[in-house]
Structures are given as C-alpha cells and as structure tokens.
Symmetry: C2
Subunit: 314 residues, 2 copies
C-alpha cells in the first residue's frame, strides 16, 4: 500500500494521520462537516488519486466494500452498496411512468445511473451531462463493466455544466431527468436551488418525472424540508420524498426528492413498470441487486419524525 | 473528559489509543469482529464504566447521538436512533395481534422495549427477564424517564437467565415474546439456537407472536438464513424477516425475525392495531418517533439480494 492513512479535505491537502486510523479511510471532510460521527473503511490499496479542475478524486480497493469512490473527501459509491443508491434513484422515477423514452442524467459521470436507465427497452435516448471528464475517464479505467454503458448507441455524453445544459434545453424535451449529484455544497450546489428546479420542470414534458439525491432525514431534515418546499413551487404534479439504506453513507440512509410535472397523473407509490420481473429477466448478465416493486413502494414510508416535518397533513 | 479515547474489547481491557481516534468511541470488538468498517462517535463525557458478572458496560454522552450505551465494545443504543430499533422490535409483533395482554421480554434490561409494550392499553402483564441487574440499575440512574416503566404495576422484573426462564414457562402462557438481546455470541448466544426457539414456541399461545433481533442482511445474511430456517421448524404460523434503519448500527440497518405459532392467522404485513393513531394520541408525553403503520408494512419489503436468499419462492 502506498499510503498508510489518507483523508483528503476540501483544499486537497491530506489531513494529519494523528486524528485518524492508520490504514483506514475516514469519511471526514471540511467541505460538508458532520461533527460527531465518522465512518471508516479499511483500505487494501489506493488505486487512483488525482485532482481535476473541479474536485479531488480517489479510488481505493477496500477490504469489505470492494472499490470505493471518494470525491472531495466524501464517499460517493462503494461496489458493495452502490446498488441501493443507483437502482433507487433511477427506478423510483422510471418505473413510475409508462414507456420512458428520453432521459437526461445530470452528473453521474461514473456511469452507474446510466446503466440502470439503459435497462429499459423503451428508452431511445439518454443524455448524460457531467462537468468533470476525469470522473468519466476514471470510471472507464476502473469500472469498465459499468462504463460500457457509454458505448450504447442510445447514450450521449456531454462534458458540460449540467446547470447550463438544463437551462438551455428546449421545453418539454425529456420524459425523465435524474440528478445524480454530490451534496448541496461544492460543485453541485446549483442543483439544489430554485432556478435549477424551475429549469428542470420546464425541460420535462407534462407528467414528466424528476429525481434528485435528497440527503438523509436523520441528519439533514432541515435541508430536505427546504428542498421539498422549493420543489413544490415548480412541480405541480407531485413532490415526494423516498429513501433507502446505504451502509457506507452517513447514517446508513439516503433520500431522494421525486417529483412530477403537471400532466398525466404519476402515482409514484405504485409503479406501472414491474421492473424486477420484466427487465431483470432480459438482462440476466447484471441482475438488479436491490430494487424490486416492494422496496419501491416501501421507499415512501417515512419514519414518523420525518413524516411530521415533510408530510404535515398526515 | 476523563478519558481521551476508549475502545473496550471482550476481555475488558482498553485497547491502545494508537489505532483509534482520540476523543472518539470506535465500535471495535473482538467479541464480534467485522473487519473492514468502523463507526466512530465523538465522546463528550464518559458517564459510566463498569464490568458486571456478565459483560462490560459503558455509557457516554456523545456530541450528536445523545447518550450512548455500549456492552462488550458494541453499541447497543443511542438516544438519537434507539426509537427505530425498539419501536420496530415491539410494534411489528404487537400491532399485528388484537388486544395483546400477556407479554414476555427477554433481555432489554434498559427498559426501552418495556416502555413500548406498556403503550398498549390492552396489556395486563409484562414479564421482563434480564440476567444482568447492573444493566437495570444503570438505566434507572441514566435513563430515569425510560426506566420508570419498571414502576408500572403491570411490569415484573426477573433478574434471571432468560433461557431457563422461557424453558420453565407453562405452555401457552404469553400472547407475545420479544427477545431484545445482543448479538448471537457472548451472553446472548443461546437466544439464537433451536432449543430456545422451541421453548419460545411452546410458551406462546396458539397464534402468539415472537420477535427477535435478527442482524443486518448487508453483513450477516448467512446468519439470518440459518435463523429463519431454524425458526421455520418450530413456528408453524409464519416466519418473516423485517428490517429497519438504525444509523449507529453496523451497516445502518438491523433486522428482526418475526414469527407466529400455529393458530389464528397473523398477517404481519397488515397490522390490525393502528398504533400510530390509536396509541400515540393517548400517550402524548412520549410520542412514537419512528413507527407508524406505513413503516410497519414497509419493513417486510426486502432488497432483492436478501429476498433471493430469505424468500426463495418469490
């Protein structure tokens, strides 16, 4: 192993080993500090460390989570549990509309969400807008099985600013827009603000669907409340909060804000596509690991403490 | 703060500070080692450290989780998220049968599960069998609001071995038995073995219900598979696996094996008691924080990777 202990903070410098566990990666970042808890994962080997124009990127082989992808000192994905995050952020919206055809992914340059979107035989066109081409290149090298989605003739990669891309999209272009971004600070902060929500709502067709990373209710209930309030301004179909369990994320949970525009009714809690039955069976080389229709519906069952804040009418 | 860093291993000796984070508690135990991930919680003050006849007990005030209870180097409860574990392990079984009257709790000496059982107006008698009276005494001192359940005239504490207690119980005594134990090693190992399951099934009335801590499917799917198989031998009503999200537990999740004996049908997925509406409203001084009828049903929606192993017929 090249390095005994590593924790990269926002400025790109390595933190002193003094405060962390030698040979382990610790999820500590002054970009998005959550004092009080630290998740540490045993490093077997650091595979890649680099700084792009936008962020620090690290990939390491861990003892029990497979390969781990870290951006700006925050774990983004681990091979062991990425299935929960990417399958849910994609299939919660896409399984809820009949025959999704045109899909936009904002962020997600690793290609994990792209692979999930491409499972749908109805999909004709997927645009993926990732600002940081180092993310795409790193994925092609270290996750070739995932990144091969980029070779699918239905997929087009735009190395651009997703915020500007959406604002320049012709109204009503997409059936679904999925924002697979990092947290509401740093390079992704624009994706959590009203002008972006407005642009997304316009870029969707009537009855189109939108999902975005929506943080954990255990930790950031105030942020989620604001996201839901702001989305309610622009998404006149419905605004929902769903969640799933991701062991390597802070609090072991992550949520999604899931919305639809005015138009044909979308009943997110009762998916029209039985993705687990219809699609796994035809794609048996990489079956779904987490998602099925039951966990889809269950994702919208919120703990009482979150329901009181996010669904006060109940 | 008296101590700068603490991690208690099985033998009761403190580990060297070298390998952990000064001022933080790290969930590392050679009693139940899970190499590859460590959860650490910032300590504000250690409130209690002791060794009973059975185990090491520590309580500390944390920065963001409230008071934290540690047995043999493994986090048992934190004030912030204990609601998820105790409300689910109690209400998944009790909300599934009409008018529970006689309930046995095995373990759970802190009194958290006792408080949940006492919410039911129909409950006439709760026996709680805890082998370690130091756990009860510590709870009375540091969690007086919780431990006041012991003063309820319906509650009786037995400081005894739960395994022997259940085996000596007259057949058909209880409507529900809840095993609120630590992991399947150490002092609690008997609660995860066939002779105990058999004794529980006999101590329950026909159509009686049983719930026990059942580990996380992300980490211990093999253990859970064995538990479910073994329970199927003795519980002829049904055997189910449900789960919930507990941030401070390994993988952010914990499961429960939930069973019923032969007799009146128990439909665990559709609770007969609407605990959230009927009972919170009459106990407003300590409302439910996590449980409601929607999360009850959702608890039985398993990720595909777990469903394939635990419900292979699906």
């Amino acid at each position: 192993m090249e390095e005994e202990c590593v924790s990269v903070d926002h400025s790109g410098k390595e933190m002193e080993c003094l405060s962390i566990i030698p040979g382990w990666y610790s999820d500590v970042s002054d970009l998005f500090p959550v004092p009080g808890e630290i998740m540490s994962i045993k490093i077997e080997k650091i595979l890649f460390k680099g700084r792009s124009k936008y962020q620090d990127i690290m990939i390491f082989q861990s003892l029990t989570f497979g390969k781990v992808i870290v951006l700006d000192g925050i774990i983004q994905h681990t091979e062991r549990d990425v299935c929960s995050y990417v399958e849910m952020i994609v299939h919660l919206p896409l399984a809820s509309i009949p025959n999704p055809k045109k899909v936009l992914i904002v962020g997600g340059g690793m290609g994990f969400t792209l692979r999930e979107v491409l499972r749908y035989p109805s999909v004709e066109k997927v645009d993926l807008v990732e600002i940081d081409d180092m993310v795409v290149n790193v994925s092609r090298k270290y996750f070739p099985d995932i990144a091969k989605g980029y070779e699918d003739p239905r997929a087009t990669l735009y190395v651009e600013d997703g915020n500007a891309f959406v604002k320049n999209t012709a109204p009503g272009t997409y059936d679904a827009i999925i924002v697979d971004s990092s947290d509401p600070i740093g390079p992704s902060r624009f994706f959590f603000e009203k002008p972006f929500f407005e642009a997304v709502s316009k870029a969707l067709r009537p009855g189109g669907v939108y999902s975005t990373q929506g943080e954990s209710a255990w930790v950031f209930l105030d942020i989620i409340q604001k996201l839901v309030e702001d989305c309610n301004i622009f998404f006149k179909g419905s605004v929902n909060y769903g969640w799933t369990n991701v062991p390597s994320f802070l609090s072991g949970a992550i949520g999604f804000v899931i919305c639809s525009t005015e138009g044909p009714l979308v009943d997110f809690k009762n998916p029209v596509n039985k993705v687990d039955v219809d699609i796994i069976s035809t794609k048996s080389e990489s079956p779904l690991k987490y998602y099925n229709s039951e966990v889809h519906t269950a994702a919208f069952a919120l703990p009482t403490f979150a329901q009181k804040v996010l669904c006060p009418k109940k």
